[in-house]
Symmetry: C2
Subunit: 183 residues, 2 copies
Protein backbone atom coordinates (compact mmCIF):
# COMPACT_ATOMS: atom_id res chain seq x y z
CA UNK A 1 0.00 0.00 0.00
CA UNK A 2 1.25 3.47 -0.89
CA UNK A 3 2.17 5.65 2.06
CA UNK A 4 -0.65 8.16 1.51
CA UNK A 5 -3.17 5.33 1.16
CA UNK A 6 -1.98 3.74 4.37
CA UNK A 7 -2.29 7.06 6.16
CA UNK A 8 -5.86 7.49 4.93
CA UNK A 9 -6.68 3.93 5.92
CA UNK A 10 -5.42 4.38 9.47
CA UNK A 11 -7.01 7.78 9.85
CA UNK A 12 -10.38 6.49 8.64
CA UNK A 13 -10.21 3.71 11.23
CA UNK A 14 -9.46 6.21 13.97
CA UNK A 15 -12.31 8.50 12.98
CA UNK A 16 -14.71 5.57 12.53
CA UNK A 17 -13.85 4.35 16.01
CA UNK A 18 -14.75 7.74 17.43
CA UNK A 19 -17.93 8.23 15.41
CA UNK A 20 -19.20 4.69 16.04
CA UNK A 21 -18.59 5.05 19.75
CA UNK A 22 -20.46 8.36 19.75
CA UNK A 23 -23.38 7.35 17.55
CA UNK A 24 -23.40 3.57 17.44
CA UNK A 25 -22.39 1.25 14.63
CA UNK A 26 -25.11 2.51 12.32
CA UNK A 27 -23.60 5.98 12.06
CA UNK A 28 -23.35 7.64 8.64
CA UNK A 29 -20.39 6.55 6.52
CA UNK A 30 -20.55 9.92 4.75
CA UNK A 31 -20.08 11.59 8.09
CA UNK A 32 -17.02 9.46 8.83
CA UNK A 33 -15.42 10.36 5.49
CA UNK A 34 -16.26 14.03 6.06
CA UNK A 35 -14.79 14.07 9.56
CA UNK A 36 -11.72 12.25 8.30
CA UNK A 37 -11.29 14.98 5.67
CA UNK A 38 -11.29 12.34 2.96
CA UNK A 39 -13.34 11.82 -0.20
CA UNK A 40 -16.26 9.44 0.13
CA UNK A 41 -14.76 7.23 -2.56
CA UNK A 42 -11.63 6.79 -0.48
CA UNK A 43 -13.65 5.29 2.34
CA UNK A 44 -15.36 2.92 -0.09
CA UNK A 45 -12.03 2.00 -1.67
CA UNK A 46 -10.61 0.88 1.65
CA UNK A 47 -13.82 -0.52 3.11
CA UNK A 48 -16.22 -1.65 0.40
CA UNK A 49 -18.99 -2.40 2.92
CA UNK A 50 -19.92 -1.30 6.39
CA UNK A 51 -19.10 -4.82 7.56
CA UNK A 52 -15.57 -4.50 6.16
CA UNK A 53 -15.08 -1.34 8.21
CA UNK A 54 -16.53 -2.97 11.32
CA UNK A 55 -14.32 -5.98 10.80
CA UNK A 56 -11.16 -3.90 10.50
CA UNK A 57 -12.20 -1.96 13.58
CA UNK A 58 -13.14 -4.91 15.77
CA UNK A 59 -10.93 -7.76 14.58
CA UNK A 60 -8.48 -7.38 17.42
CA UNK A 61 -11.33 -7.29 19.95
CA UNK A 62 -12.79 -10.47 18.50
CA UNK A 63 -9.39 -12.10 18.71
CA UNK A 64 -9.00 -10.97 22.31
CA UNK A 65 -12.36 -12.43 23.22
CA UNK A 66 -11.47 -15.73 21.60
CA UNK A 67 -8.09 -15.73 23.36
CA UNK A 68 -9.86 -14.92 26.61
CA UNK A 69 -12.04 -18.00 26.15
CA UNK A 70 -8.92 -20.16 25.77
CA UNK A 71 -7.45 -18.57 28.86
CA UNK A 72 -10.60 -19.31 30.82
CA UNK A 73 -10.44 -22.93 29.69
CA UNK A 74 -7.57 -23.30 32.12
CA UNK A 75 -9.55 -22.23 35.18
CA UNK A 76 -10.81 -24.88 37.59
CA UNK A 77 -14.47 -23.94 37.73
CA UNK A 78 -15.66 -24.41 34.15
CA UNK A 79 -19.17 -23.12 34.86
CA UNK A 80 -17.78 -19.91 36.31
CA UNK A 81 -15.44 -19.66 33.32
CA UNK A 82 -18.32 -19.80 30.85
CA UNK A 83 -20.34 -17.32 32.88
CA UNK A 84 -17.40 -14.92 33.05
CA UNK A 85 -16.83 -15.15 29.31
CA UNK A 86 -20.50 -14.48 28.61
CA UNK A 87 -20.31 -11.40 30.79
CA UNK A 88 -17.25 -10.15 28.93
CA UNK A 89 -18.75 -10.67 25.51
CA UNK A 90 -21.96 -8.88 26.49
CA UNK A 91 -19.90 -6.01 27.91
CA UNK A 92 -18.04 -5.85 24.60
CA UNK A 93 -21.19 -5.66 22.46
CA UNK A 94 -22.60 -3.11 24.88
CA UNK A 95 -19.59 -0.90 24.25
CA UNK A 96 -20.26 -1.23 20.52
CA UNK A 97 -23.93 -0.48 20.28
CA UNK A 98 -25.48 -1.75 17.04
CA UNK A 99 -22.85 -4.42 16.43
CA UNK A 100 -24.93 -7.48 17.31
CA UNK A 101 -27.34 -7.25 14.37
CA UNK A 102 -24.58 -7.37 11.72
CA UNK A 103 -22.89 -10.14 13.71
CA UNK A 104 -26.01 -12.27 13.71
CA UNK A 105 -26.59 -11.77 10.00
CA UNK A 106 -22.90 -12.41 9.27
CA UNK A 107 -22.71 -15.73 11.04
CA UNK A 108 -24.54 -17.59 8.29
CA UNK A 109 -23.42 -15.33 5.46
CA UNK A 110 -20.09 -16.62 4.17
CA UNK A 111 -19.67 -13.52 2.00
CA UNK A 112 -19.80 -11.11 4.92
CA UNK A 113 -16.53 -9.56 6.02
CA UNK A 114 -17.61 -10.26 9.59
CA UNK A 115 -18.28 -13.94 9.00
CA UNK A 116 -14.92 -15.35 10.11
CA UNK A 117 -14.79 -13.25 13.27
CA UNK A 118 -18.26 -14.36 14.30
CA UNK A 119 -17.52 -18.00 13.66
CA UNK A 120 -14.32 -17.72 15.69
CA UNK A 121 -16.32 -16.31 18.57
CA UNK A 122 -18.99 -18.98 18.32
CA UNK A 123 -16.34 -21.69 18.28
CA UNK A 124 -14.60 -20.23 21.31
CA UNK A 125 -17.89 -20.20 23.16
CA UNK A 126 -18.67 -23.72 22.07
CA UNK A 127 -15.39 -24.95 23.57
CA UNK A 128 -16.18 -23.40 26.94
CA UNK A 129 -19.67 -24.84 26.76
CA UNK A 130 -18.41 -28.32 25.86
CA UNK A 131 -16.11 -28.35 28.86
CA UNK A 132 -18.92 -27.31 31.20
CA UNK A 133 -21.08 -30.02 29.67
CA UNK A 134 -18.40 -32.69 30.04
CA UNK A 135 -18.21 -31.70 33.67
CA UNK A 136 -21.98 -32.03 34.07
CA UNK A 137 -22.37 -28.34 34.83
CA UNK A 138 -24.12 -27.22 31.65
CA UNK A 139 -27.16 -28.73 29.95
CA UNK A 140 -26.06 -31.41 27.53
CA UNK A 141 -28.68 -30.48 24.92
CA UNK A 142 -27.06 -27.23 23.85
CA UNK A 143 -24.64 -26.41 21.06
CA UNK A 144 -22.52 -23.45 20.06
CA UNK A 145 -25.13 -22.02 17.72
CA UNK A 146 -27.68 -21.96 20.51
CA UNK A 147 -25.20 -20.36 22.88
CA UNK A 148 -24.61 -17.71 20.22
CA UNK A 149 -28.38 -17.16 20.03
CA UNK A 150 -28.53 -16.53 23.76
CA UNK A 151 -25.60 -14.15 23.56
CA UNK A 152 -27.28 -12.30 20.68
CA UNK A 153 -30.56 -12.02 22.58
CA UNK A 154 -28.82 -10.65 25.67
CA UNK A 155 -26.70 -8.28 23.60
CA UNK A 156 -29.70 -6.90 21.76
CA UNK A 157 -31.66 -6.40 24.95
CA UNK A 158 -28.77 -4.52 26.47
CA UNK A 159 -28.83 -2.10 23.56
CA UNK A 160 -32.32 -1.01 24.58
CA UNK A 161 -32.27 1.95 26.97
CA UNK A 162 -35.53 0.88 28.60
CA UNK A 163 -33.91 -2.41 29.60
CA UNK A 164 -30.90 -0.97 31.43
CA UNK A 165 -32.20 -1.30 34.97
CA UNK A 166 -32.97 -4.99 34.53
CA UNK A 167 -29.88 -5.98 32.55
CA UNK A 168 -28.17 -7.87 35.37
CA UNK A 169 -31.26 -9.79 36.39
CA UNK A 170 -32.12 -10.85 32.85
CA UNK A 171 -28.50 -11.81 32.23
CA UNK A 172 -28.65 -14.03 35.28
CA UNK A 173 -31.93 -15.52 34.22
CA UNK A 174 -30.96 -16.37 30.65
CA UNK A 175 -27.37 -17.32 31.37
CA UNK A 176 -28.70 -19.41 34.24
CA UNK A 177 -30.80 -21.44 31.82
CA UNK A 178 -27.59 -22.80 30.34
CA UNK A 179 -26.55 -24.54 33.51
CA UNK A 180 -27.80 -27.66 35.21
CA UNK A 181 -29.58 -27.00 38.49
CA UNK A 182 -27.56 -28.27 41.43
CA UNK A 183 -29.64 -29.75 44.18
Amino acid sequence: MRADAKKNYEHLLDVARTVFSEQGNDASLRDIARRAGVGLGTLYRHFPTREALLEALLRSSFESLAARADELQASQDCAAALLEWLQEIIAFTHEHRGVIAPMVSAIEDHESALHASCVTLRTAGARLLARAQADGKARADLDGAELFDLIAALAWLREQPSHASRADRIFGLIAGAIFVRQS
Copy 2:
Protein backbone atom coordinates in the same frame (compact mmCIF):
# COMPACT_ATOMS: atom_id res chain seq x y z
CA MET B 1 -63.78 13.49 9.57
CA ARG B 2 -64.74 14.46 6.06
CA ALA B 3 -65.72 11.61 3.79
CA ASP B 4 -62.73 11.97 1.45
CA ALA B 5 -60.36 12.15 4.44
CA LYS B 6 -61.84 9.01 5.92
CA LYS B 7 -61.46 7.21 2.62
CA ASN B 8 -57.79 8.21 2.40
CA TYR B 9 -57.25 7.15 6.00
CA GLU B 10 -58.71 3.71 5.45
CA HIS B 11 -56.94 3.22 2.15
CA LEU B 12 -53.59 4.22 3.66
CA LEU B 13 -54.10 1.65 6.40
CA ASP B 14 -54.85 -1.05 3.84
CA VAL B 15 -51.80 -0.24 1.75
CA ALA B 16 -49.57 0.07 4.83
CA ARG B 17 -50.72 -3.36 5.97
CA THR B 18 -49.70 -4.83 2.63
CA VAL B 19 -46.37 -3.02 2.37
CA PHE B 20 -45.37 -3.73 5.97
CA SER B 21 -46.19 -7.40 5.56
CA GLU B 22 -44.11 -7.49 2.37
CA GLN B 23 -41.13 -5.50 3.58
CA GLY B 24 -41.34 -5.38 7.35
CA ASN B 25 -42.32 -2.53 9.61
CA ASP B 26 -39.38 -0.39 8.54
CA ALA B 27 -40.66 -0.02 4.97
CA SER B 28 -40.57 3.40 3.34
CA LEU B 29 -43.48 5.71 4.23
CA ARG B 30 -42.99 7.46 0.90
CA ASP B 31 -43.57 4.16 -0.83
CA ILE B 32 -46.78 3.62 1.11
CA ALA B 33 -48.12 7.05 0.13
CA ARG B 34 -47.09 6.42 -3.47
CA ARG B 35 -48.77 3.03 -3.64
CA ALA B 36 -51.87 4.49 -1.99
CA GLY B 37 -51.97 7.14 -4.74
CA VAL B 38 -51.95 9.84 -2.09
CA GLY B 39 -49.74 12.86 -1.42
CA LEU B 40 -47.00 12.33 1.11
CA GLY B 41 -48.46 15.11 3.26
CA THR B 42 -51.74 13.23 3.49
CA LEU B 43 -50.01 10.29 5.11
CA TYR B 44 -48.30 12.60 7.59
CA ARG B 45 -51.57 14.39 8.32
CA HIS B 46 -53.27 11.16 9.31
CA PHE B 47 -50.25 9.50 10.89
CA PRO B 48 -47.75 12.06 12.19
CA THR B 49 -45.19 9.37 13.10
CA ARG B 50 -44.41 5.84 12.04
CA GLU B 51 -45.53 4.72 15.50
CA ALA B 52 -48.93 6.33 14.97
CA LEU B 53 -49.36 4.33 11.78
CA LEU B 54 -48.21 1.13 13.47
CA GLU B 55 -50.56 1.78 16.34
CA ALA B 56 -53.57 2.30 14.07
CA LEU B 57 -52.60 -0.85 12.19
CA LEU B 58 -51.99 -3.10 15.18
CA ARG B 59 -54.29 -1.78 17.89
CA SER B 60 -56.89 -4.46 17.35
CA SER B 61 -54.20 -7.15 17.42
CA PHE B 62 -52.85 -5.81 20.69
CA GLU B 63 -56.35 -5.81 22.12
CA SER B 64 -56.89 -9.37 20.93
CA LEU B 65 -53.69 -10.51 22.60
CA ALA B 66 -54.68 -8.84 25.85
CA ALA B 67 -58.15 -10.38 25.64
CA ARG B 68 -56.54 -13.73 24.92
CA ALA B 69 -54.53 -13.41 28.13
CA ASP B 70 -57.73 -12.85 30.10
CA GLU B 71 -59.30 -15.84 28.40
CA LEU B 72 -56.32 -18.00 29.32
CA GLN B 73 -56.62 -16.88 32.94
CA ALA B 74 -59.66 -19.12 33.10
CA SER B 75 -57.80 -22.29 32.15
CA GLN B 76 -56.85 -24.78 34.86
CA ASP B 77 -53.17 -25.15 34.13
CA CYS B 78 -51.79 -21.67 34.71
CA ALA B 79 -48.26 -22.58 33.63
CA ALA B 80 -49.54 -23.93 30.32
CA ALA B 81 -51.67 -20.80 29.95
CA LEU B 82 -48.66 -18.51 30.29
CA LEU B 83 -46.63 -20.66 27.91
CA GLU B 84 -49.42 -20.64 25.35
CA TRP B 85 -49.78 -16.86 25.55
CA LEU B 86 -46.03 -16.41 25.11
CA GLN B 87 -46.18 -18.55 22.02
CA GLU B 88 -49.03 -16.50 20.59
CA ILE B 89 -47.36 -13.18 21.22
CA ILE B 90 -44.12 -14.35 19.63
CA ALA B 91 -46.07 -15.63 16.63
CA PHE B 92 -47.71 -12.22 16.37
CA THR B 93 -44.44 -10.29 16.39
CA HIS B 94 -43.02 -12.77 13.91
CA GLU B 95 -45.86 -11.95 11.52
CA HIS B 96 -44.97 -8.28 11.92
CA ARG B 97 -41.25 -8.27 11.41
CA GLY B 98 -39.59 -5.14 12.79
CA VAL B 99 -42.33 -4.36 15.30
CA ILE B 100 -40.51 -5.38 18.46
CA ALA B 101 -37.91 -2.59 18.40
CA PRO B 102 -40.50 0.23 18.36
CA MET B 103 -42.48 -1.65 21.02
CA VAL B 104 -39.50 -1.86 23.34
CA SER B 105 -38.66 1.79 22.90
CA ALA B 106 -42.33 2.76 23.31
CA ILE B 107 -42.83 0.99 26.60
CA GLU B 108 -40.95 3.61 28.58
CA ASP B 109 -41.76 6.53 26.29
CA HIS B 110 -45.07 8.00 27.38
CA GLU B 111 -45.17 10.21 24.28
CA SER B 112 -45.08 7.30 21.86
CA ALA B 113 -48.30 6.41 20.09
CA LEU B 114 -47.50 2.77 20.83
CA HIS B 115 -47.02 3.30 24.56
CA ALA B 116 -50.53 2.41 25.75
CA SER B 117 -50.71 -0.73 23.63
CA CYS B 118 -47.39 -1.98 24.94
CA VAL B 119 -48.30 -1.30 28.53
CA THR B 120 -51.60 -3.12 28.05
CA LEU B 121 -49.70 -6.11 26.75
CA ARG B 122 -47.19 -6.04 29.58
CA THR B 123 -50.00 -5.84 32.13
CA ALA B 124 -51.82 -8.75 30.55
CA GLY B 125 -48.65 -10.81 30.69
CA ALA B 126 -48.02 -9.77 34.28
CA ARG B 127 -51.45 -11.09 35.30
CA LEU B 128 -50.77 -14.49 33.77
CA LEU B 129 -47.38 -14.52 35.43
CA ALA B 130 -48.79 -13.56 38.83
CA ARG B 131 -51.26 -16.41 38.70
CA ALA B 132 -48.54 -18.92 37.83
CA GLN B 133 -46.45 -17.53 40.67
CA ALA B 134 -49.31 -17.74 43.16
CA ASP B 135 -49.66 -21.35 42.15
CA GLY B 136 -45.94 -21.98 42.72
CA LYS B 137 -45.38 -22.77 39.05
CA ALA B 138 -43.39 -19.69 38.06
CA ARG B 139 -40.34 -18.19 39.75
CA ALA B 140 -41.46 -15.71 42.37
CA ASP B 141 -38.64 -13.26 41.62
CA LEU B 142 -39.98 -12.07 38.28
CA ASP B 143 -42.17 -9.15 37.33
CA GLY B 144 -44.06 -8.01 34.25
CA ALA B 145 -41.22 -5.83 33.00
CA GLU B 146 -38.84 -8.78 33.07
CA LEU B 147 -41.36 -10.98 31.32
CA PHE B 148 -41.63 -8.29 28.65
CA ASP B 149 -37.83 -8.32 28.31
CA LEU B 150 -37.86 -12.06 27.69
CA ILE B 151 -40.63 -11.67 25.13
CA ALA B 152 -38.67 -8.90 23.40
CA ALA B 153 -35.50 -11.00 23.32
CA LEU B 154 -37.33 -13.97 21.82
CA ALA B 155 -39.18 -11.77 19.34
CA TRP B 156 -35.99 -10.11 18.15
CA LEU B 157 -34.20 -13.42 17.75
CA ARG B 158 -37.06 -14.75 15.68
CA GLU B 159 -36.68 -11.84 13.29
CA GLN B 160 -33.20 -13.07 12.42
CA PRO B 161 -33.21 -15.44 9.44
CA SER B 162 -30.12 -17.28 10.70
CA HIS B 163 -32.00 -18.18 13.88
CA ALA B 164 -35.02 -19.82 12.25
CA SER B 165 -33.96 -23.43 12.64
CA ARG B 166 -33.40 -23.05 16.38
CA ALA B 167 -36.41 -20.89 17.18
CA ASP B 168 -38.40 -23.59 18.94
CA ARG B 169 -35.51 -24.82 21.05
CA ILE B 170 -34.50 -21.34 22.18
CA PHE B 171 -38.12 -20.51 22.92
CA GLY B 172 -38.29 -23.55 25.13
CA LEU B 173 -35.04 -22.70 26.83
CA ILE B 174 -35.85 -19.08 27.63
CA ALA B 175 -39.53 -19.59 28.36
CA GLY B 176 -38.50 -22.54 30.51
CA ALA B 177 -36.39 -20.25 32.67
CA ILE B 178 -39.58 -18.58 33.85
CA PHE B 179 -40.90 -21.69 35.51
CA VAL B 180 -39.95 -23.47 38.70
CA ARG B 181 -38.30 -26.83 38.13
CA GLN B 182 -40.55 -29.65 39.29
CA SER B 183 -38.66 -32.50 40.89
